[in-house]
């Protein structure tokens, strides 16, 4: 009995500081952000005036917020399917080869470990007009029309998506490859013996068995594209999310509201909206993944 009590005490001792951390650095700030979202507060004034849901009403009437929210959805809708499909294709190709597999795999990880700020500036340079931008130089060298990329309201957002896809590919390829390697070889061999062709094996066996990985990566990438910030901040002039707000995502809107115009209430209301979207997606993921996969 005594030893047991001592162990319980030890456990609480070991957990005390980390628990305090999670309460004061994660949990309490979340409640606090929620609270601020119902106040009118400019950070300097000691008074936080309670205004109810006024901030929420205000941001939805704010055109810039609506544009940011819409842009964020565009990032997700343009980015996530491309990342998932490309990385699944790459992982399938990598799974076909035997020699140099790890070498190829390593190369795809390079963008993932490069600081995103560095990536953003390299791409920002590559996207410049000719003769400065290497992409436009290449396009005109092979006789294709050049692009305006980041300086055009229609092309800027997809250009940032392309850079982000480049960064995220490596991560997804590796997770997909790990998933592919857990599929028992016998299943595929059995299907081949039964006369199934490559396409049938892929559609009927490989992809259904990969389903949990696909769901997991889709959710992870959705959250990553919902939280897009660093690329936009560094790839647009003065971190504005331009031209003309055409690339401004939710997080940049939050950043500007909080740390440029010090409207803490409206900024917090926007963070709450972001939180609710992410929460919804995570809950959805848990429900889909909890359904057992039928072998």
């Amino acid at each position: 009995m005594k030893l047991r009590q001592k162990k319980v005490l030890t456990a609480y001792m070991f957990l005390s500081l980390p628990l305090a951390f999670f309460i004061f650095i994660r949990f309490y700030p979340m409640i606090y952000a929620f609270y601020i979202s119902f106040t009118n507060w400019n950070i300097i004034s000691p008074v936080k005036k309670f205004v109810g849901i006024e901030n929420y009403v205000k941001i939805f009437q704010d055109e810039v917020f609506r544009i940011s929210l819409f842009n964020t959805l565009k990032y997700v809708i343009l980015g996530v399917p491309v990342v998932i499909i490309l990385s699944l294709g790459l992982a399938l190709l990598l799974n076909n080869i035997t020699k140099f597999q790890s070498l190829y795999r390593l190369v795809y990880v390079i963008p993932y470990i490069t600081p995103l700020v560095a990536v953003s500036w390299v791409w920002r340079w590559m996207y410049q007009r000719p003769p400065i931008g290497v992409i436009n130089n290449f396009l005109s060298a092979i006789g294709l029309p050049t692009g305006t990329f980041l300086s055009d309201t229609a092309q800027a957002l997809p250009s940032i998506v392309a850079t982000t896809v480049w960064v995220e590919l490596g991560y997804c390829v590796i997770i997909f490859l790990a998933g592919l390697q857990t599929i028992p070889k016998e299943y595929i061999e059995a299907a081949r013996i039964d006369g199934a062709n490559r396409r049938q094996v892929l559609v009927r066996i490989t992809i259904p068995l990969l389903n949990p990985v696909i769901v997991f990566l889709t959710v992870m990438e959705t959250i990553i594209f919902l939280r897009i910030f660093t690329q936009v901040y560094n790839m647009t002039d003065q971190g504005s999310g331009g031209p003309l707000n055409s690339t401004k995502p939710l997080v940049l809107y939050i950043y500007q509201k909080a740390f440029k115009s010090f409207e803490m209430g409206t900024a917090s209301a926007a963070t709450t909206i972001l939180f609710l979207i992410i929460l919804g997606i995570t809950v959805l993921q848990l429900r889909v993944l909890n359904k057992k996969v039928q072998y």
């Binding site: 319980v8 980390p18 650095i25 076909n96 470990i113 700020v117 560095a118 910030f229």
Partner: protein, 270 residues
Amino acid sequence: MDKTVKILSYVILTLLIVVMVFPFVWMVLSSLKPFREVYRPKILPENPTLSNYRQILSYSLFPKWFLNSLIVALSTTLSVLFFDSLVGYTLAKFKFPGRNIIFIFILSTLMIPTEMLIIPWYVMSSKLGWIDTYWGIMFPGMITAFGIFLMRQFMETIPDDLLDAARIDGVSEFGIFYKVALPLVKPALASLAILNFIGNWNAFLWPLIVASNSKMYTLPVGLSYFSSENLMRWELIMTGATVSTFPLIIIFLIFQRQIIRGIMLSGLKG
């Protein structure tokens, strides 16, 4: 395996590798080009030079930013290794009331996006005088829920008999964790350490907010600031970008395996 499929796979993968590494190679090679060569459409520098490096080192706060990033990334990583494994070990190897609730509570914090916390963190930091301090940059990342989840999975594989044997030998509870359990999960610790170092080295949003004095910038924040001030000097910007990537290139060359492993482990979250 059909031969044509295999050959085709190699061809496509090789072509795509060119696309994948090009921006990276372009960045490093441009940093070696003298001013006159930068806008010529040649990939390799004709007269490679280190003058860009000399210039940014003498001109800006780059060495200080480098040091700041190193201090921040190393300290947070050490803290994460210690606390995440301690909590993971406790949750895996002790039975006590509230164990599951505590575990679920910690995991549930994973759902809170950092963006929601930055305003309260900022308010807290300015009240407590943490703005423009290393501690201010580091404190949000000192313990991670994901690391705790990961370490708990690995600590569970350690046989209880081993820990009890140490108990009988009179080793203290902390000694058992530190001397018996930790060495057994070294591979997981290595992966967690590298992912954390990379993550903290590359962190941008929070350091951008909490470091207002340019002397306290981390490399990504410094690079962002430096680049926007030097919009036309792309060769200098590329040099700065290369400097900020440099430690990661070295880590990458040494720990390739652990990086891949770490990424695979992060897929465990699902």
